[in-house]
Each structure stands twice: as C-alpha cells, then as structure tokens.
Amino acid sequence: MTASTLTTPTRTAPAPTSDAPSTSAASAAAQRITGMACRNCGLAQPLAIAYVCPACFGPLEVTYDYDVIRASLTRDVIASRAPGIWRYLELLPVDAPPARSLPVGSTPLIPVDRLGAALGVDRLWIKDDTRNPSLSFKDRPAAIAAARAVEFGLPALACASTGNLAGATAAAAAAVGLPAYVFIPADLETAKVDHALSYGATVVPIDGTYDDVNRLCLEIADETGWGFININLRPFYAEGSKTLAYEIAESLGWRSPDVIVAPVASGAMFTRVARGFEELADIGLIERRPIRFVGGQAAGCGPVATAFEAGTDVIEPVREPDTIVRSLAIGNPADGRYVVEVARETGGSVESIPDDVTAGAIRDVARLEGIFPETAGGVTLGAVAAARRRGVIRDDDEVVALLTGNGLKTPDARSLGLPDGQGLAPVLKPSLSAFEAWLGSAS
C-alpha cells in the first residue's frame, strides 16, 4: 500500500449542459441502455417509471448493452473527464448528466494502517464517503434518480428514509430545481430532520418504524405522480451505488481488492457494489478476480445477518428494530436475500454488530485516523473485526471498508458506554492560574 491517500482527480465544476439531454445524448443512451428486465423471471420491459415486473411482481432492473459500452468507455476516456460520478456515465441509467447537479463522488480511498493494526488487518483502506455533498453515500443514488426524474419530466422528488436519504433527496432536489417530500419515522435523529429541512424539503414524520414509512410510501407513490426515488425510481436509484465500485477500482489503479466490507440496510448498495465490480470486469477495465463481500448489520435489527447465520435466504422481518444505528434500521430489507446470495457465493459473510461495539468502532476510527463516521460506519468496522475473527478476512488480504455517512449526523452515538463528559475539561475561569491548576490536576 502506498502511503498517500488515493482519490480520483480533484473536482472542478462540471461543464454546463442544457436542461434536457441533447438529442445526441439521448440517442447514444438508447444504444447502451437497452431497457429493463425482471431480476426474477427475466421478462424484458421498455425503460419507464416502473419497478415491479408485471408478470411475477419481481424487481425490475435497468439493462445495458455491454458491447456498446466496452467500445466507448476506456480508462483513458474516464481519466479525461472531471471528477465525480458522471465520469462513468456510460454505466449509469441516464441519458446525460443534468444541467445542475451536486459534485457527488470521487471521494478518497484512504490507507488506515493504525486502525488496520488495531483490527488485525494487514492492508486496510477506508472509502471515505462521509464527505459527499449531504455527508453520505446516498448522494450517489439520489443524484441518479434525480437526473432520471428530470429526464422523465416528473414534478417532484420524494423518498422514504431512515435519515441519510432524507438529506440526499432534499439536496438533490434543490440542485435540479424540484420540490422534495421526505417521509421519515417520527423519532428520527434531530440532526437528520434539520438537515433535510434546511434544503427546503417538506418533511413528513410518520408515527411508526421505517418499514411503516416504506409501506405508506409504496401505497402513495404511484398515486401522487411524484418520483419516489427509492420506490418507483428504485431501478435507477440503486444503480448509483455502483459508482462506489468504479471509484475504488480506479483509485487502486484499476484493480479490485480482496475483500469489500459494507453496511447493509435494504441491501441495494451492497449488491450494486458487487455488480459494479462485475461490470468493470465485463468491459475489460479490471482483471476479474474473486472478491469476498462482507456485510454488517446492527444486532438490534439484523434480519439479513440472521438469515446468513441460519443458512437460509428467507429473510424474517424484524418488527421493532432496537438499535442506535437508525440508518440501518430496516426490518424488512428489499434486497436482503440477494445480499445473502452475494455474501455466500463470494465466500464472504454478513456480521451482526452490537451497539456498544459500533460506538467503540466510531471512537477508534476517529481517534486513530481522524475520520468520524455515523453509526453505519461503526457497524462496518465492527464487521471488519468480526470477519477477521471468522477467517473470512485472511492474513495479507487487502480490505476496503465503506464508511458511508458522516458522524455529525449521529453525534451522540460515539459516547455510548462512556462516562458523561469523558475527555471534556471543566469550564475554567479565563486566568492562567486556573489553567495551571487544572493542568496540574489532570496530569
């Protein structure tokens, strides 16, 4: 591992484009985006605002012609483009970048040797997605969904959120000039609510869990005409998380690591990161090598980890999540069975992490590496340690852990299990003698 932080090139403002994609952009997109298909039965569908297979009710996904993409998207082409997710446009389900969008992506891949030593991992990298525009990886899928919403001519964006998507949707909507409606569990962390409100979104608190919020949004999504980015735009939204894989591979010099460790909520990000690496191998941008995929869930809401341990792909929903990790508190994860499939087929695992371990991991990475993640990041690092103990992570492995949200979103979580005020000096009088007295007593 080199000593320097790896990143894709320094970001500059993207070149402006018109509001609507040009005819040539739409024409080129029509060559590479072939439509949609059901992940379950394979039924092909034309590209549309749709997410459910009309034949079997399975999930619809966007399909591409990889021969067309392979012929046009090379390492040199990517290197010639501005930083951010749009440098991988050909692998994304939009005609063209929107005229106005946030500078999402090209976040750094950072070597974390001190944390690696503490976790017993020889070569550990952090993909630091805490520094996206709204401070989480959700800016990636939100940007894709917002771009598609503009291309479809939708009047508003909306989402069901455990918190991070609330801010990302609100910010993306502000960027593209659409109103936003954000549905959240009423007891969500205040910082996340204020964050979404600050972008001008209408926040709709629901008296229930995230799964209650999601059910309600499923019922209203197709009635409102709004683009619910993780419901009726979900096939497009989910594709945004593939950019994590593209950036990791590019930052590593166009190769893949041995192990990827990521948090699991719905499972959409986890499965799309895996697909992202597959696509890069398919179009010849990286050598195809095995990657073990490790997921992390909170012990208080771990239906996917439970299924993995039980050796089944049947996800039993959790009715009442009980965890400080609100961003992962999805009791009925849509892509849960696919997460189990990816973890099992790649020789990975899905780990269940208690809240006290999560809080300790947040403190460790902040103290040792200067990176402050929100609770999902603590779960991810807990999963690194658990997978190391399990033997999924082996000696000499190169491991990339995805820290997907910023600690300022969950500022209280880091202190779980600590005495009140640890590390905080008493209020001192503004005098030298008071300072010296305190320093003497503290040392």
Binding site: N40, Y51, V52, C53, P54, A55, C56, F57, G58, P59, A160, Y210, D211, D212, N214, R215, C217, L218, E219, A221, D222, E223, N230, I231, R234, A238, A265, S266, G267, A268, M269, E316, P317, R319, I330, N332, P333, A334, D335
Partner: protein, 90 residues
Amino acid sequence: MSTVRIPPTLRAATGGEKLVTVPGGTVREVIQGLVAAHPGLEAQLIAQDGDLNRFVNAFLNDTDVRHLQALETPVGEADTLVLLPAMAGG
C-alpha cells in the same frame, strides 16, 4: 366481506378497481377469493407451492401479516388487506 386495496401495479387485472370486497375468514381465504374473482392476479400473487409470492407483502390493517399469523391470520368484515410489492425502500 373484507376490503382489499389494490395497488396500481395490480389494477390492470381488476379492471382498474382500487378497492375490492372479498369473502374469507383468513388472509389465505381472502387472497384465494380475490384470485377467483380476478384470475389475472394469480401469476403475480400466488407462488408455485400455493403460498403467497415472495415478492408480495400482505398487510392487514397496516400490519405485515408475517408479524401476525401469516396467511392463517383471521380476517374480519371491517378489516382491510393491502397487497404491495416487496421490492422497495432502502
């Protein structure tokens, strides 16, 4: 007769109806009654083993029936059953 709310993705099979009243004393019987009245729903709702398709979630009065007695959950005349795609969120 309990009420079944039909999501837009299934309405083609119900002739566009949003609300359908169906007889049945359990969730299973209501779904069977719904499919009997609207056979076009069978492929989407019923799996090969006769159970509910794994891509469909059923909610009785807004509670996931898997948190109740699943398909054997009793259904009363004032109850409302909602059938929704399992693929969303996150």
